[in-house]
């Protein structure tokens, strides 16, 4: 009887253990919340990645939360210390630079040295284009985030128009000036420019400084070094940029137009060229006539410049990051590794017709993106304004204002470099501003 009683007790205990274990297993389900910018790429691709990830990791449930104003939506959650596990922030609300300054990002350095998904002979870090990992930095060796998409800033021309008139995309600044003259004589605007988003015109100035005075000069400008703006090459670069305005290469009313209006002039055939990012085909898709073509090309070389003729402005979109206060930081970092794995990146390229920072994944691109991917390939050096804007937002705003004034004719190139030199000095000497260094 006693034995039977023991058996019943044992059975009961065993059942209890099984119940507890299964309850434990159920509790181990990790719910990963991924908050993304719902913009040009939508959220469908990220949903796809989430389902693929869940298939590989049955204990993980991934929720994608998308919003066109994701920064504004998430701001209070960061303040409360209750952010999602992964974020991809674009546009207003919060920037990664601000999060990093507030020490709210979880570093991914260690994981970057672990084997990549589906390419175990390589470290994760080796599968990402190297320059793009250093653009969100606090000056230390830590890696704070990773980009999936790759954006470039370059010029575009209208091939049908160029063919009709027998024009060639300009290779040098002299070519650009001569071609601009020719285009103008045909009653066409050589370059569509916009003045409302002042940042866009900074990209012109950055590339002109690089082409004319070299990458070191650009670095010194971006590092707020003393005398950086007063270098002869920098002044010459600014003069050349202003020359485009003085020669009447931009459409009338350019300064009152935003990017969409200026780009519309280009796709409607009123302007022959425009400077814009690699996202332009997607952005103008609904506006451009069906048979309209646009082909990207590099900013021309400067014959008298010492800069790198292939250096490219890699816009470098905002990074995917894991917030410091994420509930499941390890799993979140793993999800980022999966997202930026070669097969996922290739899928991204296919589904979204966009470029990626993942090495070797830019295959089967559309014609114009392939040209840009080749430009990226050819560029030994790349640069971007992204970290600078994050570190010194006030200085960057001043730069934008002064560039507008330069284009309005309120400032001459000589005044422009002077006021920018003073602005750099003010920021450099401001005890509240932490200084960083770029080395593009």
């Amino acid at each position: 009887m006693k034995r039977a009683k023991n058996a019943v007790v044992r059975l009961f205990l065993a059942m209890a253990v099984v119940c507890l274990l299964s309850a434990g297993a159920a509790a181990e389900t990790i719910e990963l919340e991924v908050a993304v910018f719902d913009g040009a790429f939508g959220t469908d691709f990220f949903e796809y990645v989430a389902r693929e990830y869940e298939e590989m990791h049955p204990n993980v449930e991934v929720t994608i939360q998308g919003s066109p104003e994701i920064g504004i939506v998430l701001r209070p959650r960061f303040l409360q210390g209750n952010p999602p596990d992964v974020t991809w922030l674009v546009r207003e609300g919060i920037t990664n630079a601000e999060l990093l300054r507030a020490d709210l990002i979880h570093p991914i350095t260690e994981a970057m040295h672990s084997p990549a998904y589906f390419q175990e002979d390589k470290k994760w870090k080796e599968t990402i284009m190297p320059g793009t990992l250093r653009t969100l930095t606090d000056g230390s060796d830590e890696i704070w985030g990773v980009s999936l998409d790759l954006l470039t800033w370059n010029m575009w021309y209208n091939p049908q128009m160029f063919e009709e008139y027998g024009w060639e995309p300009p290779q040098t600044f002299a070519d650009l000036m001569a071609l601009g003259d020719e285009i103008r004589q045909e009653g066409i605007v050589p370059i569509a420019l916009q003045g409302q988003i002042a940042d866009y015109n900074i990209y012109w100035v950055m590339q002109f400084i690089q082409r004319q005075a070299g990458m070191d000069a650009l670095n010194s400008v971006l590092n707020l070094e003393e005398g950086a703006w007063l270098q002869d090459g920098v002044l010459e670069a600014v003069r050349k940029f202003r020359m485009l305005k003085d020669e009447g290469f931009f459409q009338s009313g350019a300064m009152g137009m935003d990017h969409m209006e200026a780009q519309t002039q280009f796709v409607m055939g009123d302007a022959a060229m425009v400077a814009n990012g690699s996202w332009m085909p997607a952005e103008m898709g609904g506006i451009a006539p069906d048979d309209f073509e646009m082909v990207p090309f590099q900013y021309p070389k400067f014959e008298d410049g010492v800069g790198d003729p292939n250096a490219l402005n890699v816009m470098d979109a905002e990074k995917w990051i894991v917030p410091r206060d994420a509930d499941h930081p390890e799993q979140a970092v793993d999800f980022l590794k999966f997202l930026t794995s070669k097969p996922m990146a290739q899928e991204f390229v296919q589904q979204k017709d966009a470029m990626t920072t993942v090495v070797g994944a830019n295959v089967d691109l559309s014609e114009e993106l392939q040209i840009m991917a080749d430009m990226v390939e050819e560029a030994d050096r790349t640069f971007t304004h992204v970290p600078i804007q994050g570190w010194y937002p006030e200085w960057f705003g001043t730069w934008a204002d002064n560039t507008t004034s330069l284009l309005l004719g309120e400032l001459d190139p000589e005044d422009y470099v002077e006021v920018m030199e003073r602005a750099s000095e003010r920021t450099r000497e401001d005890p509240n501003v932490e200084l960083f260094e770029v080395d593009f």
């Binding site: 303040l79 003045g195 409302q196 002042a198 705003g397």
Partner: protein, 295 residues
Amino acid sequence: MKAVYRQIGFKAGFLAPAVGIFVVFFIYPILQTLHVSLYRWGGLSPDMDWVGLDNFRNLLFHDPIFWKAVSNNLFFLIVFPIITLVLSLFFASVFARRFRGSTLLSSVYFFPALISWVAISILWSFIYHPSIGILNSLLAGIGLEGLARTWLADPAVVLGAVAAPLIWRNVGFYMVMFVAAIRNIPPEYHESALIDGASRWTIFRHITLPLIWEVVSVAVVFMVVNAFLAFDLVWIMTQGGPSRHSEILTTYFYRKAFIEFQMGYATAMAVLLFIGVLTVSLLLRRFMQRETVEY
């Protein structure tokens, strides 16, 4: 004595909810704003650095853009209430007399007040558009193409260009207020003045205006507050540009708080703006105070 206490308690019981709401939603945020304005704070983490009055000192003595915004606000403060007041009083005195079509016409003038600021900003941006804008086309159509310009990107005219829709939207609103006030005046006053041979201007100056003065003075305070706090319009039309030529305090506040993430500095600006609006409103109320005419 007990009855007195009971009565006080009774009254306090009725007042408490309203006072509670006022304290929680008005007094507390104002005090909190004052508190934050004494710190340097990025707005994301609980870490705030105490800087005392530094934010105010920097704003007042080291920030040329702040003063530019103040002077742009002063432009709004002078131009907007004066033109709006003159136009709305004029239309009110016209439409207060009922005539065939007056209701329809006054509705047309009131119509802009029903449109949201965002829609108005976009609408006027199109009116000013450098290539497809109706204003430049109109000027060209009547042979004045010399006056055509890039209205929202020309430093010389941008402020006026932004003030125009502000006036356009508000004239109809204040007109309706003034029409109601004028129609409340007993008609005998006007009739006897007319019989005495008074001109329309004399009647307006000596009868209508004094009798609606209370409404006018309240309206002027509203206009001044509007002139200080116009944000949507400027932000959507120019974002304070070109090169800060149309920056006003509210757009500069937004830029500092949500683009440059200097919450403490921006909050200090909000405090100064609050003091400015309060002072000007009180001064105006005092300046415009007259003995109310009973009728």
